[in-house]
């Protein structure tokens, strides 16, 4: 456990330093514990902390853009976010605890793609676009598996663009010890269509519940998903929830998210 530390002076500087044996450091809420526990052993840390251009929230018509270094607490408290997508502000306000929310960033959360993290559900549920130093990636193509994303080596997330929905809600059922999502469902209807994104539950991470989406297309109400059975076989299982219980929760929590979004 020893590494060189470099505080990036610009996004270009960061990009030139990233990749190989370097790790990007955002809020450090995931990376630093991983280093301490010996789960990650980078030789170099490239700190994004000083890059003001990666921080901030702007609304342009029907698009809300959040810089990758924007902290969870800032998203939760933002009048812009509360006005455009209140469900997103609520989601950010429900991540971890106050300390974590004041350090952790949206870019770090998405890049990490923890299968129980909250933001991936919002990205998928709203049909967001992840903007990086080299391209734009649709959320549908971004989250590729447990702790896996479409990011290439050295690629840095600069911002996330969310289309402002007509209806949206996020419902989180917490794992009691970690308080990450045991099941989290983001349900929305808007420019990106009708979407139901589920985090915490899936065996391969965040996913869209396409059967629910289809049912909601014509009738956006909790009743519309009544007849749907959530299959157990692609559910994660651990000491907190076996697959059958998770599958059950997905349906209950989805129903609540849909009801809340429907208003």
């Amino acid at each position: 456990m020893s590494f060189a530390y470099h505080k990036a002076a610009s996004v270009n500087d960061a990009a030139s330093q990233a990749g190989g044996d370097a790790a990007l450091l955002a809020g450090g809420m995931t990376l630093l514990p991983a280093i301490k526990l010996g789960l990650s052993d980078p030789r170099r840390l490239v700190d994004l902390a000083d890059l003001g251009e990666l921080r901030g929230i702007t609304r342009d018509g029907d698009t809300l853009t959040i810089g990758s270094m924007t902290r969870h607490a800032d998203v939760a408290a933002s009048a812009e976010v509360q006005g455009a997508i209140p469900a997103l502000a609520k989601l950010a306000g429900g991540i971890g605890d106050a300390q974590v929310r004041h350090r952790g960033t949206i870019g770090g959360s998405i890049a990490n793609n923890d299968p129980a993290a909250d933001y991936p559900a919002a990205c998928l549920g709203l049909g967001a676009t992840i903007v990086t130093t080299s391209r734009e990636i649709a959320a549908d193509d971004f989250f590729t598996g447990l702790f896996e994303t479409a990011l290439e080596e050295g690629e840095i997330i600069t911002s996330v663009r969310f289309p402002v929905p007509e209806k949206a809600a996020y419902e989180k059922f917490v794992q009691p010890a970690s308080r990450f999502a045991l099941v989290g469902v983001f349900a929305a209807q808007g420019p990106a269509g009708t979407r139901v994104a589920v985090t915490g539950a899936g065996l391969s991470g965040v996913y869209r519940a396409s059967d629910m989406e289809a049912a909601l297309e014509s009738d956006f109400s909790a009743d519309a998903i009544d007849g749907i059975t959530v299959p157990e076989d692609n559910m994660a299982a651990d000491i907190h929830a076996a697959a059958d219980y998770r599958a059950h929760l997905v349906k209950v929590i989805a129903g609540r998210a849909i009801a809340a979004a429907a208003g």
């Binding site: 059922f173 009691p176 010890a177 970690s178 000491i239 907190h240 929830a241 076996a242 219980y245 059950h248 929760l249 209950v252 929590i253």
Partner: protein, 806 residues
């Protein structure tokens, strides 16, 4: 009962008390240093020339050590030594001792296998220490530990009681066939069986008491040094009882003279029992410090705490209660399997036997009780005392069974209890399981709690909850516990290998201040305040002039430390007796100073007075005269004003009370919310109501934690699945409601203060109230049982098993 000279009019117990004496809500003296970060904990201690220890631990639950090559680690940067079980054997060190022997059925004693401080040949749980690396820095020690080459031949493991008792199960110790360490019984089996034969109804229950991980906020620490000049050893350690640590480590493990060994337990950040027992690391660093001639420090990492602190509870029981046609209890039969872990910890045998079964009468008149307990070895970390230690297990079993009996017989939860309560005029009350209760009034705590909890308004609250889709339930626990550990002679007959007295020295200074040296130890119990209040009350000395010293064998005479809610009932009594000796001597000095007869001197309001006159000499003047004896009866009286008292209690004390829990369950998800919790306890006389409330709040929170959230899980191979806070659920502020607490007091009959103890009542009384409330909430769905912890998944499964939410 001895004349206490205290106001026994308890009607007024809740009145505001003026001053800083008994009954006053004095702010904690110790808080200033704790809250401003000035506490001095063992990890804050660093000695010149200090080295650091890091332990290599078993990653598997059961294995033989085939090869252990430390040569690469020994050569690593900064490494001073690597020690292993071979060194322990070569130095002929002893193993960790058991503090309590258990005599089983047919006079078969408990099997006590050796518990080496570094594994010799075999490892028996994940975390069992195999080697220690000592280096200049902690980082170097840890890095070198990676270079140790251990070849373990993994063997099949038994990770829980049921697996350990299965036919042909692998053995944890060859000397314990069937993995049974002892098979013990208490009570009159024939009387019990006869009563069952005449029963109108028998209620039965199968109960698992979930295994808990103690999680004191401060991990265990040991810093040892050896003075090569004098041959003195010093150990700074996270201990609830430094004298006990000294005795056990010196006499049994290291074979060093007790008088050459100083053990210091400075500020300690919580123990909950887990810091009573000697652990391998403390002995290892003390041994290594002498071997290397340099101080050695070890501080547990949090994952080591999860893996190696002694766990609590872990019982599997079956119980049956026989009732007559009116709902009177006739007999109780209990059969319990208790997990001991891989070795018998210091009190591992006592907790599930003597601290458990004698509580099975609870607050009820059940005339015949029989209980048998098997202690079972498993490939898990040892199990020992955890807040309540045995008594929560007994209370949970009994109060769940009473709840079930009420449901089966159609009696209300209140009526079945009232019918069976021991009445206030029945004390002293001899139970059929050894305990003899001295005082109590169970109706008083019950009726007060019923009012406080607004039980009359429950049906309306339940109907309102139903409109919100929630199931609301009410659960009761009219518990009793035993503390004030312990009358030594009784404990000795039961197998205790140590005395359980307590001591106090009261040193009055020439300037009138007082230093109290107590053998108890505060690690959250607030002794610096409570004991100072006792001194203020009795001697009239201002709180700011009273120092309470504890936790250092070099400063404290002798003492047995703090656990079993003993500090006030045993240590406080020693303090009272030492102060009475001070007053007696003070009277002689005052008589001389005022030229009066000693018999005419009375001590009142901090002053010695000549009866019937206005002559008086303040306490401070007497103290001064004792040390500046210019005008002093030196021919007949020694100078100085310092007295010692040792006190050994005549009996345990028996706090009790009524806890009422109200929950709301979301039937769709199984999530339970505790919406109200009422605790009315009889803890004997209250010295500081604020501290008593704090102890109840903390205890109840731990009880709710056990009932709803906490559960240690080992997988079938003995891997600890709940090894961090990511998976082990501690209760947090938002898991509990604002508590509704109160007291209804009766005095303990066999100590001067009339105190019983409050350290554990919250954790003992509350879990059955919570689970009974959940069962009540779900009873119309057909649910009759929910296991602890009642996580949302467990509750949901109970609902599914009963046919699902309707």
């Amino acid at each position: 009962m001895p004349d206490t000279g205290l106001d026994t009019d308890l009607e007024n117990a809740e009145q505001v008390v003026i001053g800083n004496g008994i009954g006053a809500r004095v702010r904690r003296k110790e808080d200033k240093r704790f809250l401003t970060g000035k506490g001095r904990y063992a990890d804050d201690i660093n000695r010149p020339g200090q080295t650091h220890a890091y332990f290599v631990r078993s990653q598997v639950a059961h294995a033989d050590i085939k090869n252990l090559d430390t040569s690469a680690a020994e050569k690593a940067e900064g490494v001073i030594a690597v020690l292993t079980g071979a060194d322990v054997a070569a130095d002929e060190l002893g193993g960790l001792p058991c503090g309590w022997g258990i005599m089983g059925k047919n006079d078969v004693p408990m099997h006590e296998p050796p518990h080496p401080i570094l594994a010799i040949g075999t490892v028996r749980h994940v975390g069992d220490p195999i080697a220690v690396v000592i280096a200049e820095t902690k980082k170097q020690a840890k890095a070198a530990a990676q270079l140790i080459d251990v070849t373990l031949e993994e063997k099949p493991a038994v990770a829980n009681i049921r697996a350990a008792l299965a036919d042909g199960a692998p053995l944890v110790h060859d000397g314990a066939p069937g993995n049974v360490a002892f098979d013990w019984e208490i009570g009159d089996r024939a009387a019990m069986e006869e009563a069952f034969a005449n029963a109108a109804h028998v209620a039965e229950i199968d109960i698992d008491n979930n295994r808990l991980i103690p999680n004191a906020i401060e991990p265990r620490v040991a810093v040892a040094e050896f003075d090569t000049g004098t041959g003195d050893y010093t150990l700074f350690v996270t201990s609830q009882n430094p004298h006990v640590h000294r005795l056990l480590i010196a006499a049994f493990v290291l074979h060093i003279p007790e008088e050459k060994f100083r053990v210091v337990a400075p500020d300690v950040g919580g123990g909950f029992g887990s810091k009573i027992f000697p652990y391998p690391e403390e002995s290892v660093v003390t041994w290594a410090a002498a071997k290397l001639g340099r101080p050695v420090k070890w501080t547990a990492e949090r994952s080591e705490s999860f893996m190696t602190d002694a766990h609590g509870r872990d019982h599997v029981s079956h119980a049956e209660l026989a009732l007559d046609k009116d709902g009177k209890f006739l007999a109780l039969k209990v059969s319990t399997l208790a997990n001991l872990g891989g070795y018998v910890s210091a009190f591992g045998g006592a907790v599930p036997t003597f601290l458990y079964a004698p509580l099975l009468a609870g607050t009820y008149t059940t005339p015949a009780i029989y209980c048998e307990v098997k202690g079972v070895f498993t490939h898990t970390v040892p199990v020992d005392a955890y807040r309540g230690a045995g008594r929560p297990e007994a209370t949970y079993l009994l109060e769940r069974l009473v709840d079930r009996a009420a449901r089966e017989t159609g009696l209300s939860q209140v009526d079945i209890r009232r019918k069976n309560f021991i009445q206030p005029d029945a004390f002293p009350y001899q139970t059929p399981v050894a305990s003899c209760y001295d005082s109590g009034d169970y109706e008083a705590t019950l009726s007060s709690a019923l009012k406080k909890a607004d039980v009359d308004g429950f049906e309306k609250r339940k109907a309102d909850a139903a409109l919100r889709g929630k199931k609301r339930g009410l659960g009761f626990s009219t518990y009793l516990e035993a503390c004030g550990v312990a009358p030594s002679a009784v404990a000795g007959q039961l197998g205790a290998r140590a005395g359980l007295y307590e001591s106090a020295v009261v040193r009055v200074h020439p300037t009138g201040g007082v230093t109290v040296f107590t053998g108890t130890h505060s690690h959250g119990q607030s002794h610096e305040t409570t004991f100072a209040q006792l001194v203020n009350d009795r001697l009239g000395v201002g709180l700011e002039h009273i120092e309470v010293v504890h936790g250092d064998t070099a400063r404290i005479q002798f003492g047995m430390g703090t656990y079993g809610s003993r500090s006030l009932a045993v240590g406080g009594e020693a303090l009272i007796r030492a102060m009475d000796k001070v007053i007696e001597k003070g009277k002689k000095i005052a008589a001389h100073l005022m030229e009066a007869s000693e018999n005419d001197i009375e001590f009142e309001g901090g002053s010695f007075k000549v009866t019937g006159t206005d002559k008086e000499t303040p306490f401070g003047a007497v103290a001064f005269a004792a040390y500046v004896p210019h005008n002093y009866p030196l021919e007949t009286l020694e100078p100085g004003l310092e007295e010692t008292a040792f006190f050994d209690p005549l009996n345990f004390t028996f706090p009790g009370g009524c806890h009422i829990c109200e929950v709301e369950v979301d039937p769709a998800t199984g999530v339970t919310e505790v919406v109200n919790f009422t605790a009315v306890d009889d803890v004997g006389r209250v010295i500081n109501p604020m501290i008593v409330e704090g102890q109840v709040h903390g205890g109840v929170t731990q009880g709710i934690g056990q009932a709803l959230l906490e559960g240690c899980v080992y997988d079938d191979n003995g891997q600890l699945l709940t090894g961090s806070y990511m998976d082990y659920t501690m209760p947090r502020a938002d898991n509990v409601p604002s508590y509704n607490v109160g007291t209804e007091l009766t005095l303990c009959a066999h100590n001067t203060l009339g105190v019983k103890g409050v350290g554990e009542v919250g954790a003992i009384g509350s879990p059955p109230a919570v689970i009974n409330a959940i069962v009540d909430a779900l009873s119309d769905l057909g649910v009759t049982d929910v296991s602890m912890p009642a996580t949302s998944q467990n509750v949901w499964r109970a609902i599914q098993a009963a046919g699902g939410a309707k």
